[in-house]
């Protein structure tokens, strides 16, 4: 039996949700916030570099031992990325079609730079993420850094041998090209997030006049925090942090 609710049949709820512009924005917001959570957790892991090689390597090794969990996260992320990008593409195509003839003079009053360029910052972040994943696959590094990451091994306190992540990071960021590229990448990501977080709250309806200013500050604050956190590592390496590990 079909239940009618709000004039639509319950069976058709999901298609309608996916079909509507608001539903798509819901999906973008939820997947966006999901990826944001990953980015935040990822940063807490990365920042352990400042606690020394032992802590970081042990953390990395610990992660690899929880392979099942890792796969769950990977699959989730892939689904999120896929949904986020596909919705973005569909929405953008629809948005373009909604104005077939552009203005001779277009000013977009009130729109911040981040807000106007989401599709571009998003696309570049996607490229960056793709490269970033390769960055960690050992073979791709040889040409850039002159190091073979496969040879970077270390022995943890409990005696197990594993990848020496600390040395990999330092070696990678010792190359100015890699560092600059990385900083630009996370910069773009955070630029994307500075609007994205605010927009996600808006799309999910989690915003009103009372919290409006707070949401705005939260969004830009979070974006800056992430940027400073991520960028601190290559900057620290450039300043000489951890160089001794390479020798």
């Amino acid at each position: 039996m079909l239940r009618k609710a709000g004039g639509i049949e319950a069976m058709k709820l999901l298609p309608q949700f996916f079909h509507s512009s608001l539903g798509k924005k819901y999906i973008m917001a939820i997947t966006g916030l999901g990826m944001l959570a990953f980015v935040a957790v990822h940063l807490t892991g990365n920042l352990q570099i400042f606690l020394g090689p032992e802590v970081l390597d042990a953390y990395a090794h610990g992660l690899h031992r929880a392979e099942e969990l890792l796969w769950v996260i990977r699959v989730c992320l892939l689904v999120f990325i896929g949904l986020h990008i596909s919705m973005a593409v569909v929405l953008t195509l629809g948005n373009r079609a909604a104005r077939p003839i552009p203005y001779e003079r277009s000013r977009l009053p009130g729109a911040s730079h981040a807000a106007r360029t989401m599709i571009w910052s998003g696309s570049m972040v996607a490229v960056f993420v793709a490269y970033h994943l390769l960055h960690h696959s050992a073979k791709a590094q040889v040409s850039l850094t002159g190091h073979d990451f496969a040879t970077f091994q270390t022995t943890l306190a409990d005696g197990t041998t594993c990848h020496d992540v600390f040395r990999m990071v330092v070696a990678g960021f010792s190359q100015p090209v890699v560092s600059v590229f990385y900083i630009v990448g996370v910069g773009l990501l955070c630029h994307h997030l500075s609007h994205g977080i605010e927009a996600a709250f808006q799309s999910l309806g989690l915003r009103n006049r009372v919290w409006d200013a707070a949401v705005r500050k939260l969004a830009s604050g979070a974006a800056w925090l992430l940027f400073v956190g991520y960028a601190s590592i290559p900057v620290a390496v450039a300043c000489g942090y951890g160089r001794e590990a390479l020798n």
Binding site: H19, P109, G110, Q202
Partner: protein, 251 residues
């Protein structure tokens, strides 16, 4: 004052359009932009030309008929003002002003600066009302309504349906218009009865009309002549989520 105008001229919906340049000489700073267009038209008619077609009616900023993009900004860059109330004192002598019609697929140009905004009527017809018949209404004081609720409802209800939000949005999204009506009615006990049905139906009508989606740029609130804020859009998003949840799980 002397102003140069670059105006979009298009004979009919199917014709090709292009910009033409006109000179508005000896116009007074106290005139509104549309009064200046009236004057330009007087000259055009007298000299055998074809006057510029543009929509306007009340000329006091409330009917929502006027719809001109002035130098890239719907209704011009003065805050909270419709084109009919934009006075020339806000321009400089010798300025060149570009006038374009609203640009959006659901708002096809009819002629020159006149566009067809029926899509808005269809969205209201989809559910932008309270389903009460005439007669039989209870006393207006039967349900006390908190003043703050009424005030917020009115903040949204002031929408004049001009379409500047669509015209300004880089996606030609009608979210501010639709959300104004959804917010207005969902904030009042009278409108709350059918809030789920309303928001689902109006959003569907909005999407079907071919408007773009909201990317929260805020251009709509920047140009809204009635200063409606995008928190109404957040409210509509909330209403929408609520309606789906209720439809799916409560019923």
């Amino acid at each position: 004052m002397h102003l140069s105008l670059r105006v979009w001229r298009q004979k009919s919906a199917s014709a090709f359009g292009r910009f033409e340049t006109y000179e508005a000489r000896n116009v007074s700073a106290d005139m509104s932009l549309l009064e200046m267009l009236d004057e330009v038209n007087e000259d055009l008619i007298a000299s055998g030309g074809e006057p510029i077609a543009f929509d306007s009616d009340c000329r006091e900023g409330i009917c929502g008929a006027c719809s001109v993009v002035i130098d890239g900004v719907p209704h011009g860059s003065r805050h909270g003002t419709t084109a009919c109330q934009l006075h020339l004192r806000h321009f400089k002598d010798g300025d060149t002003i570009t006038l374009e019609p609203w640009r959006a697929r659901p708002f096809p140009v009819i002629k020159d600066l006149v566009v067809d905004r029926h899509a808005f009527d269809r969205i209201i017809q989809a559910g932008g009302y309270v389903s009460v018949k005439t007669g039989g209404a209870p006393d207006g004081n039967a349900i006390p309504i908190p003043k703050t609720d009424v005030d917020r409802a009115m903040d949204a209800a002031v929408c004049i349906g001009c379409g500047a939000c669509v015209a300004a949005c880089k996606n030609a999204s009608a979210m501010l218009f639709v959300a104004s009506k959804v917010s207005h009615l969902s904030l009042l006990p009278q409108g709350r009865v059918e809030r789920e049905r309303r928001v689902l139906a109006m959003v569907r009508a909005m999407d079907d009309a071919g408007f773009g989606a909201c990317t929260v740029t805020g251009s709509c609130e920047a140009v809204c002549p009635k200063n409606i804020r995008i928190d109404v859009i957040a409210r509509m998003n909330r209403e929408y989520g609520r309606a789906l949840l209720k439809a799916g799980f409560v019923e």
